[in-house]
Structures are given as C-alpha cells and as structure tokens.
Amino acid sequence: MNAGHLFYGSSVFLMVMGVFIALTGKHLIKILLGIDLFDVGLNLLIISFGYVNGGTAPIFSRYPHVFKNVVDPVPQALVLTAIVIGVAEIAMGLAIVMRIKEKFGTCNISKLKELKW
C-alpha cells in the first residue's frame, strides 16, 4: 500500500464520516461540522490527487531536473478556492443556525418542523 492509497483512503473516510455525522447528528452545529468535515475530506482528496510521491513544490526554478517531478499545482490552487468557499458556506450556515436558535429556541434538528403542509 503506497502513500497515495493511504491519502485517498483517509480522505474518503473523512468524507464518509462527515456525511455520517450530518445524517445522525441531532444538533445543528454538529451537522454543520459534519458538512465541514465532508468538505475537508474532499479538499484533502483533491490535493492527494495532485500529489506525486516524492515530488516538490511546483515553483519555477533554475534547476530543470527538479522540475521534472513536481506535484500538480492546479488542484492546490483549486483547493485554495474551495477552502474559501467552504468557509463562506459554513459561515452562512452558522449565521442561519444562530437565527434558528433565536427563533426556535433549540438547535435540535428534529424540532424544525414548520414546513410540512
């Protein structure tokens, strides 16, 4: 088992855990954390896709032989954006949860039952 598989496995595990928490958690914050965990796992997965075993940072340098074995820079750039987006999402989520706590007086998801009919 090489390092790549370990990375993939662990980040997929994180994603699954995230979904699992979101599915089973009762507290809204917990659910948000689950979603966040899912995002984090995804981000890690993306980075590990771009990872080359033993590669170096993708920086232009005077030594072309180093340049041969660099990790893919694009996923990293993407993940950077994705992290920012994830933060925004969670921030929005937290804001909503805050309001929910104000209005409903609870953070228990099973108490959110206004919209049924």
Partner: protein, 601 residues
C-alpha cells in the same frame, strides 16, 4: 384570408369593448357592430372550399371551409346574436364581452381549422374563455361550476391532443384526414381520443357531469350561447371524428357506433329523468339540453343517411329551442330575480310574450308538430327502426316522454298556477329579450313546416360520406318506412283548431274568474293561501324510481378522485421529512446509482 379576418374582427371587437369599458351603451354598440361586421363577412364570403394557411415558424396554421363550416357557423353566429340581445340587459363589463367574443372566435375558428393543432388551439381558446365567462357567473356557485367545467373540458382537450399526436405519429400528417388505413387497433384509440372532447362538449354521458352546473351557474345571457351555440361544436366534432377522420368506422368497428348510439340513448333518458326532478329552471333546462344532445349522438351512432340527417337537424333544432327556452328564462330572471321554480308562478298574465316563447319552445322540445322539433325526431325514429334496434328505439321514445314531463313542469311552474304576491307589478321582459324571442320563433316554425331548407344543406354536408337515401323536398320527407308532409300536419292542426274555436264561440259565453275563486273543498282562500303546486312536482317519481335514482356517475368519479388524492398524499409524504432525511435521500440515491453502475465501473 377572410377566415383569418373574421376571427381577427371578433378578437378586436372583444379588445375594443374591454378598453371602452366604462360606458355601457358604447360597449353594447361596439359589440353589436363588431358582431355584425364579423358575421356579414362570414355570410357573404365564406363559401365551401376556401383554403388559407399561415406560417408561424414552427407551426403552419391551415384553414379550410366546407359545407359543415357554413352550416354550423350560421347556427353559432345566430345564437350569438340572441346572446348579444340578451346581454344588453345583463350586468356586463368590458371583460364580459372580451371573453364572449374570444369564445366566439374559438368556436368559429374550430369550424375553419384544417389541421389538428389549429383545431386544438381554437378549441382550447373556446373552452378557456367560456370557462372565464362561467367564472364571472351570477351566483356563489359559479366558481365551483366553472372549475368543474374547466377540468372536464381540459380533460377532453388533452385527450384530443393525445389523439392528435398518435395520429401524427402514425400517419405523419397533422391534417384532419383519414386514419382508417392504419393497421392494428390504434386507430380506434385515436378515434376515441379525438372524440372525447366532443362528447364532453355535447355532454354525452358519462362526460356530462360539468354541464348542469356550468349551464345553470353562468350568466343567463351566456347560457343561451353556451347551450345553444357551443354544444354545436361537440356535434361538429362528432362529424369530424366519425366522417372525416375515420371514414370506414361503419365497416371496421360497427360495435363502436352502437356504443355511441346507446350512450346517446342513455343520455337522453337519464338526463330527461334528472331534468324533471330539478327545482331550478336553469338546471332543468340544462338537463333538457343534455337530453336533447343525446338524440344527436344516437343519430350519429346509427350512422345511416337518415339518422345523420336527423342528427344534424336535431342539432339545428336544439340551437333554436334551447336558446329560446334559456332566453325566456333569462328574461324572467331579469324581472323576478329568481330561477327557482318554487318561487314563481302565474306570470302568464304579466309576461305574455315570454309565455308564448316558452310555450312554443317546450312544444318544439317535446317534438310536437308543426315545430322544428318534430322532423328530426320523426326521422330519427324511422332511422333507428330501420337499423333494427328496437330496444334503442324504445329507450329514445322513453326519453321523449320525459321531455313532456319536464316541459310541463317548466311552463307550469313559471307561467301557470298562482301568481305570487310579490310579482304583482312584474312587467314583460325588456326589448332585447323580446326581440330575441320573436327572432327565434321564426325558424322554429319555418323549419318545422319546411325542413327541406335545412335538410338540403345537411345533405350536401354528408352525401360525400354516406349514400344519399333520404327522399326529401322542401316540405316532405320520405323513408322506406313512411312519408310525412309537414305543412299538411300543420294545416290540419290549424284548421282543427279553427273548427274547435268555432264550436267554442257558438256555445255560451265565459266570464272571468279570479284565481282565488277556486274549488278548494270548503277552504276559504285568500291571497296568502299557497295553492301553487310547484315544489316536488314529480316527487312521487322518486319512490317509483327508488334506489337507482341515487346512483350517479358523480359518486363513481369522486371515488376515483379519492384514489388519486391518496396517491398524492403518499407522494407528498416524500417531502415532509427534516433536513437529515433529505440528505439521506441524497446518499441513498448516490449509493443506488453507484451500485447500479458498479458493473460498468
């Protein structure tokens, strides 16, 4: 091009009335002028055989005029005139005329349509705006009735559309044309689907459920057009479907025609029975209208030259007397503000012209010579007997007996019997109604005595499809079973009447007695004494019919709807979880797809 212009004139008239909204007189004049312009265009320019196409990028609109266009067009336009005359006295606003004229546009347009998509477009236009017209209605129930009408007519429209697409798919032609060459039984499905909206429009059972409510709850003037005019589109549709679309129906699926004929007979009978059980004038007339349209279906179902001529003639007659009856009831409503048969009575002295209108209306409805109702009924009986279906003949005969029952109930409850106290100062119906009544009485007698005028035209319509067998000239009709000279019947009646009058005048004199001066078996009667026998007029028949009277299509339909409602509740249950449940759906969906793709991955 004229065909297009005619429709345009009607649409523009409708829009113009909408924008000239506030002034009633102006509105009425514009409506009348627009109508006259359009119908003048129609009468002078529409000859059989005109063709016109208009391209709007993806769809081509094809128009064509035939004998049937002219026949039905004139009926519908004539009835619309009556409607307009009555409308002048209705509470109307701009939208009222807009909807009415767009309904007319749809109705006339349908007659022109050569391809099925245009047909559908115009048919739906008609349904839609007549729905709005009903929605504007006159009482609290109108919206509900309008809703029923909408659902039913759209049901029909969609069936038609489905049929259209099946036809286009199988024949690669969107034109109204023959489908008998298609292999397999799909052609029957197409026919059935295309026929559905017309069965709905012509209120053939079991598609009639909307009709009594919609007829009785729309504005009185509009009911005239609704029943007299729009139902003709249903008849026109029978013609289109059974003759133009499936020309070989008689040889390929004779049982289908038999079913139509029997449905017609059952409609005529049951609607007749329901009619005489009603206590509301418009409801009664609505059922009577349905009943009369049942005869037409019988005529089409028998599918011989005789019967189809009878059907067309009956449709014509239906337009005349049903309009007349609704018009009179509208006039009465205008004066006494009710259509409840239990609250009227003795109006003959106050509204003699209306009485005459109603009297001859019911005489024609019952099919008594020498009115327009007789030739078609006579011919229909002959045709059914010739076909050899004696049970159907009996059923139709039974239906025509019910016509006597409801006719008499109508005329008695409104005009005969005791005058109510609060109706002492009622006046004759105003000019518009009166004009309409007189206008309608003319064809009622003329065509009753000289049916040849119309039969000739009807013969032109159908002789292309059926071997012309009926012998006729202006005043007579001859079938292998019998022969009638209609004026002779009329003359005999008139001379016999004169003779009776002579006898009447020879002997003694009469004096006028008040209505309170009655035999009441020692009971002294005053004005407050309720002697009018109107409610539960045929109440005892309820017992005679017993339980079957309580059965209805409506209950069956409701049970069916409940089933859908139940399924709907289940479907809705899917959307009633909390956020985690929704997420669960997502995960489940993902896993399911991943599993299904597993083999390919």
């Amino acid at each position: 091009m004229t065909m297009f212009y005619i429709l345009l004139v009607f649409i523009l008239t409708g829009l113009l009335t909408l924008f000239l909204g506030p002034i009633k007189v102006l509105r009425n004049i514009v409506a009348l002028l627009g109508y006259l312009a359009g119908s003048a265009l129609f009468i002078y320019n529409i000859k059989p055989g005109l063709i016109y196409s208009l391209n709007i990028r993806v769809y081509n609109i094809h128009f064509e005029s035939g004998f049937s266009t002219v026949f039905f067009g004139i009926i519908i336009l004539a009835v619309f005139l009556i409607f307009l005359l009555a409308s002048f006295h209705e509470e109307n606003d701009g939208a009222y005329y807009l909807f009415a004229f767009l309904t007319l546009t749809g109705a006339i347009g349908v007659l022109f349509a050569k391809d099925l998509i245009s047909f559908f477009f115009l048919f739906e236009t008609m349904s839609l705006f007549s729905f709005l017209m009903v929605l504007k209605g006159k009482n609290k129930n109108s919206p509900k009735s309008a809703f029923k009408y909408l659902v039913w007519s759209v049901f029909g429209g969609y069936a038609f559309l489905f049929g259209t697409f099946l036809k286009v798919y199988t024949t690669h032609s969107v034109m109204i044309g023959d489908i008998s060459f298609i292999g397999g039984h799909i052609k029957l499905l197409i026919l059935l689907l295309i026929l559905t909206p017309f069965m709905v429009k012509a209120a053939l059972m079991p598609f009639h459920l909307w009709a009594p409510d919609a007829y009785s709850d729309s504005k009185d003037a509009f009911t005239v057009f609704f029943s007299g005019g729009l139902s003709k589109i249903g008849i026109f549709g029978y013609f289109i479907a059974l003759f133009k679309i499936f020309t070989e129906i008689a040889s390929k699926y004779p049982w289908f025609l038999t079913v139509i004929a029997w449905l017609g007979g059952i409609t005529a009978t049951l609607a007749g029975i329901y009619a005489f059980m009603q206590d509301d004038a418009k409801k009664l007339l609505a059922y009577s209208s349905i009943s009369q349209l049942g005869y037409v279906a019988v005529g089409f179902g028998i599918y011989t030259h005789y019967s189809v001529v009878a059907a067309f003639f009956h449709a014509l007659g239906h337009a005349v007397y049903e309009s007349l009856l609704f018009l009179v009831v509208a006039g009465v409503y205008y004066r006494v503000k009710t259509t409840d048969l239990r609250k009227m009575g003795g109006l003959i002295k106050k509204m003699p012209l209306s009485f005459i209108g109603l009297l001859f209306g019911i005489i024609a409805t019952s099919g008594i010579p020498p009115t327009i109702g007789f030739p078609s009924k006579w011919l229909l009986y002959e045709a059914v007997i010739m076909k050899g279906d004696l049970l159907l003949t009996s059923l139709v005969f039974f239906a025509s007996i019910t016509a006597f029952l409801y006719s008499y109930k109508l005329v008695h409850s409104i005009f005969l019997g005791k005058l109510h106290k609060e109706h002492r100062d009622v006046k004759e119906a105003p000019l518009g109604y009166a004009t309409g009544i007189i206008l309608l009485l003319i064809p009622l007698f003329v065509l009753g005595v000289a049916p040849g005028i119309a039969v000739k035209h009807i013969d032109y319509i159908i002789r292309f499809y059926l071997k012309p067998e009926l012998g006729y000239n202006l005043t007579t009709m001859t079938t292998p079973l019998g022969h009638v000279n209609f004026p002779v019947v009329g003359i005999v009646m008139v001379s016999m009447f004169v003779l009776s009058l002579i006898i009447y005048f020879i002997f003694g004199s009469t004096y006028k007695a008040d209505q309170t001066d009655n035999y009441t078996a020692t009971e002294a009667i005053s004005d407050d004494f309720e002697l009018h026998y109107a409610g539960e007029f045929y109440g005892f028949m309820r017992k005679a019919f017993g339980r079957p009277l309580k059965w209805s299509f409506e209950k069956l339909l409701n049970a069916f709807l409940k089933l859908f409602a139940f399924i709907g509740e289940i479907a809705r249950g899917f959307y009633m979880g909390d956020a985690r449940v929704y997420l669960f759906y997502l995960v489940l969906f993902f896993s399911l797809l991943a599993y299904l793709m597993g083999g390919k991955l």
